[in-house]
């Protein structure tokens, strides 16, 4: 890796994106492990993990764009794909959970009865 010829400011921006992305994704997974019932667990991965990986990909995009004299847009494609699909998977999993009559924690309000 030869990041020595990279301007200092750009390095800082890339480093911030990579680190911030990792922290946000870790919080998402922490929520997945910690929260009490399925419906609350659904929130962590759909939002935090997607944004975290998105940030990592943008950092990678900036890095390779600088290295190769030309914009490297492929990472942007993966990011857009992730953002477009995350709500759909969440919706499907939520529907499956409802269908299996999974209960929320006791204090959940308006738990739908089927």
């Amino acid at each position: 890796m030869n990041s020595l010829d990279m301007p200092w400011a750009l390095q800082l921006v890339i480093a911030l994106f990579l680190l911030g992305g990792a922290v946000v994704a870790l919080i998402g997974s922490w929520g997945l492990a910690k929260l009490p019932d399925f419906y609350t667990r659904l929130h962590g991965p759909t939002k935090a993990s997607t944004l975290g990986v998105g940030c990592t990909l943008i950092g990678s995009l900036l890095f390779f764009s600088h290295q190769q004299d030309g914009v490297s847009v492929q990472e942007a494609l993966v990011t857009i794909f992730l953002f477009a699909t995350a709500p759909v998977s969440a919706h499907m999993m939520g529907k499956a959970a409802l269908r299996r009559r999974l209960r929320g924690v006791a204090r959940t309000r308006h738990m739908p009865e089927e």
Binding site: V24, I27, G28, W30, G31, K34, L35, P36, D37, Y39, T40, L42, H43, G44, T46, K47, A48, T50, L51, S72, V73, Q74, A76, L77, F83, A84, A86, P87, V88, A90, H91, G94, K95, A97, L98, G104, V105, R107, T108, R109, H110, M111, P112
Partner: protein, 168 residues
């Protein structure tokens, strides 16, 4: 009724989508040349031609400018929502008050409803779980439900109104 093979309806049922596919191809190979542009355009024509029998009625984007503003608002809200959710996750789980609520839809176009449902899933503390086609409502789960009437009004004002502007 299938349109005749000589009409534009047959070859280019969705011109914008064809253009989008061609652009996507160019981004995918990450290189711009005449050969790749032609290949992309060919794919853009062939893929809708083969698959359009499976498609639902297409939505019409009436005004592209509010769409751009909508995307910007959405990007900002995704960042805001992540902060909110991260704080809720890191805070003590006992203080959470999760809850379901039904959101009455004013939109009736399938594509617009899909976008609204995705938006709800990506923004603060809410995930859309079920769409009831008969009653035209969305079942939404909130990580921390304080005031459902307020939440519904907020979603309506912030997301559904602009979507109505764009699609109707």
């Amino acid at each position: 009724m299938t349109p005749s093979w000589r009409s534009r309806q047959f070859w280019l049922p969705h011109p914008l989508f064809s253009l989008f596919l061609a652009l996507l191809w160019l981004l995918m190979v990450n290189e711009f040349s005449v050969a790749h542009a032609l290949l992309g355009l060919t794919l853009g024509v062939v893929i809708p031609l083969v698959t359009h029998a499976f498609w639902a009625e297409q939505a019409r984007i009436r005004r592209p400018l509010p769409l751009l503003r909508y995307v910007l608002v959405l990007l900002l809200d995704i960042l805001r929502s992540n902060l909110v959710v991260a704080l809720r996750i890191l805070g003590p789980a006992r203080q959470l008050e999760p809850g379901f609520f039904t959101y009455p839809l004013a939109l009736d176009d399938d594509f617009a409803i899909t976008i609204l449902a995705s938006t709800i899933s990506l923004t603060p503390g809410t995930v859309s779980i079920h769409h009831d086609a008969e009653a035209n409502t969305l079942l939404v789960h909130a990580l921390h439900l304080e005031n459902e009437i307020e939440t519904i009004a907020e979603i309506h004002r912030r997301y559904e109104r602009p979507l109505q502007e764009i699609f109707q």
